[in-house]
Symmetry: C2
Subunit: 131 residues, 2 copies
């Protein structure tokens, strides 16, 4: 077992073998998205320097940008004190959110207790994700 395999084995994955990965912009540190990795997708993320995940809703292995072209180039990976969460610093090509926003976190809680949309769409999802 090489050191990377050992490092990955030392992480605390959930019962279903996943660990949350917080993807942040390498320049501004803005959080772009949170998705889940299994051991295989983390290893591929390190090896290819492109983010790979496991989709819980689609039960499917995927590379970010495989359909949209909006890949993420990995610049650094961090873990926390409990080794149960990752931060992945990336250069985001295009936009992170499948709805067309640069970050998935485009809704801010307002003083009335509702959500305000606080970002602009960079693209129209219908143009990028061909049906």
């Amino acid at each position: 077992m090489n050191q990377l395999d050992e490092t990955i084995a030392g992480l605390k994955f959930s019962a279903d073998g996943l660990i949350p990965a917080v993807c942040v912009d390498c320049e501004t540190k803005q959080v772009l998205m949170v998705a889940y990795m299994n051991a295989e997708s983390l290893k591929d993320t390190v090896k290819t320097q492109k983010t790979h995940f496991w989709s819980r809703s689609r039960q499917k292995y995927w590379m970010k940008g495989e359909s949209s072209g909006h890949t993420q180039e990995v610049k650094a990976i961090y873990t926390d004190c409990d080794k149960d969460t990752l931060i992945v610093e990336v250069k985001q090509n295009g936009a992170a959110c499948h709805e067309g926003y640069f970050s998935c976190f485009y809704r801010k809680l307002n003083d009335d207790g509702g959500w305000d949309i606080v970002a602009e769409k960079l693209f129209n999802p219908d143009d990028v994700y061909k049906k």
Copy 2:
């Protein structure tokens, strides 16, 4: 049901009633910690403007800083496209990590596949968390 209750009810909590909250520094946007909220702790977080969580390991409701004094003052709350994750922008008093680091994410993956410690301890946990 008021608007905040409705907003909270509209979030996608996991089967065990939790949603991950990524706490970031309101100035630098640095990720400080990731912890889990249930509906009650999110409501208290909004109402008191101090972060509250549900601890999965201790199966216990807690306010960040209740033992250390290192509270987090809430400045803004965001959610993502899927409404299954929160970002909480905070002013961190003291340090976020119970091990004494400002951020829990003090370990960076190096080129050999191991972890490097890339931050300085701000306090000695033994002095802060009395046994």
